[in-house]
């Protein structure tokens, strides 16, 4: 590193953060500068400085805090890949540290925040669920466990809505056996989610379409027993009694159907 001299002068003159002056600062100053950059919104610079703290003073207390701050900054910058990498490195080095819960939490929500609309990628949802489950199981009493449980339920609900969406796809096209299997998965493995009521109603619809009336009755009974107040129970009740559907559940004519499906992308 022969050019240290010239670099130094240039760096100060232009105020860029060249290598030389960092060596002279203690870990605390660099850490403070990084925090300042973070508040200032220059996240990339903050991340670089946190990395420098860890590289120059790997054994200091500051290195540990810099590592977790690095993970946090990456996450704030929506750079989920690096946020996960830094959080994982923190967990490798300081598994028993009290910030380890936060690192694990950061790891989990970096997956969670990438989850998109229900019609979309379910691969991410699985990873989010696993990461959130580790937070809940390994650090049950940390303050992150509570919000992880909440996020876990939301991700779990998101998975259920994906199964429902595929079930409706097959139901609408008249493939009743496939639809039944998807709705049964929701009823059996996703009871705690908000979709169970609808799944039971779709089962009533599918069994009736196949002519298996007593199966439809059983599904209707379970729906009535557990979800008496939902609109779905109302629909099932009407179906089983052979009456028409409620206004907000029934279609309003083919023109409105076209508008709903083509323009608004609804399923029916």
């Amino acid at each position: 590193c022969g050019n240290r001299g010239g670099d130094g002068f240039l760096a100060n003159f232009w105020g860029s953060k060249a290598e030389a002056p960092l060596e002279t600062f203690g870990p605390e100053e660099i850490y403070k500068r990084a925090e300042f950059q973070l508040e200032d919104g220059d996240i990339d610079e903050a991340v670089r400085l946190f990395g420098e703290v860890e590289r120059l003073y790997p054994y200091s207390e500051w290195a540990k805090r810099a590592l977790i701050m690095q993970a946090f900054s990456y996450h704030a910058d929506r750079d989920y890949e690096n946020s996960r990498a830094s959080a994982q490195r923190f967990l490798d080095f300081y598994p028993a540290d009290e910030d380890a819960a936060y690192a694990q939490y950061l790891l989990a929500i970096s997956y969670y925040d990438q989850i998109d609309q229900v019609g979309r990628d379910q691969g991410l949802t699985f990873q989010a669920l696993q990461a959130l489950r580790t937070v809940i199981e390994r650090y049950p009493e940390s303050e992150y466990a509570k919000s992880s449980i909440l996020k876990f339920d939301l991700a779990f609900d998101h998975l259920a809505s994906k199964e429902m969406e595929i079930g409706r796809y097959y139901l609408k096209r008249g493939h009743y056996a496939s639809a039944i299997n998807r709705f049964r998965v929701v009823v059996e493995e996703f009871q705690t989610t908000t979709h169970t009521a609808e799944a039971l109603h779709r089962l009533v619809e599918s069994y009736l379409s196949l002519g298996l009336t007593d199966e439809a009755q059983t599904a209707g009974a379970i729906l009535g027993h557990n979800f008496q107040s939902t609109g779905f129970y109302q629909d099932s009740y009407n179906l089983l009694q052979g009456r028409g559907l409620e206004p907000e559940a029934a279609g309003k004519g083919w023109l409105q159907d076209i508008y709903r499906q083509v323009i608004r992308g609804k399923w029916l």
């Binding site: 003073y57 598994p95 499906q261 992308g265």
Partner: protein, 754 residues
């Protein structure tokens, strides 16, 4: 990592009371971390075994160089020395391979723990990288430079050595094909005078293995069923800078096809019907590719007949006496396997149903590999994904299969802004937006809007491919176009709206019905323009019904390597509106891949006829042969022309017919460049006018020659597959043309695979 075992006195080896644990020697790693690895509780006694496990766990953590656990009285003293952390990693002495490519591969990274074992592994990795690049003599040694507070710099010193090349390649035992022919088959090349540049002459172990495979495929596909590469021994030259490679082969006999039979014990299968599909004739040279082709055709036929669990098994019997192979295609009942689930992942913006509706198979249906492969093809053809791989894995039971669809989305839209300022026309803004996967619903939405520029083209286009969830495509197109075309001195203005629907009518056939209502007008025709066009200066309503039938077997047809595309369309104008004419267009295209599927041959014939029901045809209805139809000429470079008028305007023609023969082939360049060559021969003509009087109604002038005149063009082209799309550079030369035609010898277009 050296560790000293617990200094146990054998007498009372059983257990140690631990009232407290003292940890020293750790700097970066905290006591709590070490305790969490030890898993020994204070106040409980630990046996020798437990202590030993504790040591193992500490070592396996990979954080410590040495670990000592010594019980002193009832206190446990744990002394550790940590591995230093790496401050910086760099590589010196590497000229051929760049740092940037090598450092990410290494396991030792800056800020990570340094461990001699990983450093050795990285050194070996670098050496392997060099031997892959042909520098077998390269050596890599890791070295450590200690830094302040237990940090180290890790340096890999590389001695590259020079490239070892293949001096000579020779073959022993080859009677049927000469050494020169076989050298063209394998990938390694002899070092010629361009030795320093060409990569493929450097000696690389894996490439020799790959060459053996190439030789086997070459001989197998020519009927040498018993071909074997006995040995491919590389010998080092005396000066140790080059290799002699010699392949010892045993060719065996060339086998021809004996009797070809098709047999099936399944009641629902008629063997002769399947036999007709076989592409293997008695007496032909045997080749595995033909067997595979026939199996594909038979499986597709079974799929078309809706039969489940049918598997085609080729049973080959050798008769060495007359050197033939009898091939029997047995259609047997395959295993009873069902598709349990179809899981789609990676679709960040595309809706699940857009991908799922490409599958004809539904969850719970019998598993048909051919059907799944066709669906994968359709998903790729959507054009929304850079990669779309469909593979199957074991489901919840032996008879259940789960189909996994992993897609990776690519950009499917474009948004362009253009602001231009003309001295006279003033400022003008042009916006064009096109999205082929609008909101992930598979719909296409595009609109372009520009003000002020001479060729104003404002249009909105919307396509919903699966209207109301059915295989029914709805298209809506509204446009407002004015052209001040540089080929002629008049302006046209068209405003129109064209809804259309398209749906399947048979396995490979689709029908498109459309209705167009438009107002077409020709304006400010200047004085020098031909009188024929001047008489068209008016605006008129067109209200036309359109029907277009297309039949495409390229993807779903029986022949995997080729197919036919047929398009026949008619537009009947006169359902209301002023203009009354019938316009018929047609296209027949056949393509096939030959020479081990590397060369594509394509023959196309296109024609059009515009027959007027009343009055004369207007220039806006007549056909013009663009360079996409007949290469080698300008936009309206071909066709009847009013030679008496000052600027000799092209008048278009009521009839056109063009034939295009083309072939494209690899140029031998490596695959990743994506460059192929092509040759083409176009021949065709544009003719026929209703009104050929060049003078005015009062004073008739000479008649325009609107007869049938052949034009033909020969040319070569370069096909280049770039990120922004498949480009095609055409270089052409007209063989036969009229003297007034306008040639264009070079043209850059998007090579459309319609």
């Amino acid at each position: 990592a050296v560790s000293s075992a617990v200094p146990l006195t054998p007498a009372f080896a059983q257990s140690f009371p631990i009232s407290s644990i003292q940890i020293d020697g750790n700097q970066r790693i905290e006591d709590a971390t070490i305790l969490s690895y030890l898993r020994l509780e204070r106040g409980k006694s630990a046996t020798a075994g437990e202590l030993n496990d504790a040591i193992q766990r500490l070592q396996r953590s990979g954080l410590f160089e040495t670990v000592d656990v010594v019980p002193v009285g009832n206190r446990l003293v744990v002394t550790v020395t940590e591995y230093p952390t790496i401050n910086r990693v760099n590589i010196e002495g590497n000229k051929r391979l760049k740092d940037a490519d090598l450092i990410p591969l290494l396991k030792s990274q800056s800020r990570r723990v340094y461990s001699p074992a990983t450093a050795e592994a990285d050194a070996a990795l670098l050496a392997e990288g060099y031997s892959q690049a042909g520098r077998i003599a390269a050596t890599v040694t890791p070295r450590i430079i200690p830094r302040s507070n237990n940090r180290v710099d890790l340096v890999f010193e590389v001695a590259e050595g020079d490239v070892v090349e293949v001096e000579r390649i020779s073959f022993i035992g080859n009677r049927a094909y000469s050494d020169r022919r076989l050298r063209r088959v394998i990938e390694s090349k002899q070092a010629g005078f361009l030795r320093s540049i060409i990569q493929s002459d450097t000696f690389v172990g894996d490439r020799i293995a790959f060459d053996r495979q190439l030789l086997r495929d070459f001989y197998l596909s020519r009927g040498y069923v018993d071909f074997q590469v006995l040995s491919s021994t590389p010998e080092l030259t005396r000066q140790r800078d080059g290799y002699f490679v010699s392949f010892k082969v045993r060719e065996g006999q060339q086998f021809k096809v004996g009797r070809v039979t098709t047999y099936s014990d399944l009641p629902e299968i008629d063997a002769d019907e399947y036999h007709k599909v076989a592409r293997l004739k008695d007496g032909e040279v045997y080749s595995p590719a033909k067997i595979e082709n026939t199996i594909t055709r038979m499986e597709r036929l079974a799929l078309r007949q809706g039969l489940n669990f049918v598997r085609v098994e080729p049973r080959i019997t050798r008769n060495d006496a007359d050197v033939t192979l009898d091939v029997e295609f047995a259609l047997i009942r395959g295993p009873r396997v069902f598709v349990e689930r179809i899981d789609i992942e990676g679709n960040a913006t595309t809706l699940d149903r857009v991908v799922r509706r490409q599958f004809n198979t539904v969850e719970g249906d019998p598993f048909n590999p051919r059907e799944i492969r066709d669906a994968a093809e359709r998903i790729r053809a959507l054009g929304y994904f850079s990669t779309a791989d469909v593979n199957t894995r074991q489901g919840s039971g032996p008879e259940q299969v789960v189909v996994d669809v992993d897609v990776e989305e690519t950009t499917t839209g474009s948004l362009g802004f253009g602001v231009s300022y003309g001295a006279d026309a003033g400022a003008s803004l042009s916006v064009n937006f096109k999205e082929r996967n609008f909101l992930g619903r598979g719909q296409t939405l595009s609109f372009s809007f520009d003000t002020g520029s001479d060729n104003k083209n404002t249009s909105v286009d919307f396509i919903e491919p699966s209207f109301l969830g059915r295989d029914l495509s709805l298209g809506l197109n509204a446009y407002y176009r004015t052209t001040d075309s540089q080929y002629a001195d008049y302006d046209t203005q068209n405003v129109g709206f064209e809804p259309s629907i398209e749906f399947p009518v048979s396995e490979n056939g689709r029908l498109r019905l459309s209705y167009r209502i438009s107002k077409d007008s020709i304006k400010n025709v200047n004085a020098t323009t031909s009188n024929i066009i001047r008489r068209d200066e008016s605006s008129a309503f067109t209200s036309a019904l359109g029907v277009l039938y297309s039949y495409d077997t390229r993807r779903t047809g029986l022949n995997p390597n080729g197919g036919v595309l047929l398009r026949f369309g008619q537009q009947i104008a006169g359902v209301g509106g002023g203009l009354k004419y019938l316009q018929t267009t047609g296209l027949v295209s056949a393509e096939t891949r030959v020479a081990r599927e590397e060369v594509t041959l394509r023959a196309q014939f296109e024609f059009g006829a515009n027959t007027r029901l009343t009055g004369n045809s207007r220039i806006t209805e007549r056909f013009f042969l663009g360079s996409s139809k007949l290469r080698g000429f300008d936009g309206a470079g071909v066709g009847p022309r009013d030679l008496t008028s000052a600027n000799q305007d092209a008048l278009g023609g009521n009839y056109f017919a063009v034939a295009r023969l083309e072939a494209d082939f690899p140029l031998g360049l490596p695959e990743e460049y994506g460059i192929r060559g092509g040759v083409f021969f176009d021949v065709g003509s544009l003719w026929g006018l209703d009104d050929t009087n060049t003078g005015t109604n009062a004073v008739p002038g000479a008649a325009v020659d609107d007869g049938f005149k052949i034009r033909s063009v020969i040319g070569v082209s370069l096909l280049w597959d770039t990120q922004i799309g498949p480009l095609r550079f055409n270089f052409s030369k007209a063989l036969v043309k009229e003297d007034y035609d306008k040639e264009r010898s070079f043209d850059l277009t998007v090579s459309t695979k319609f």
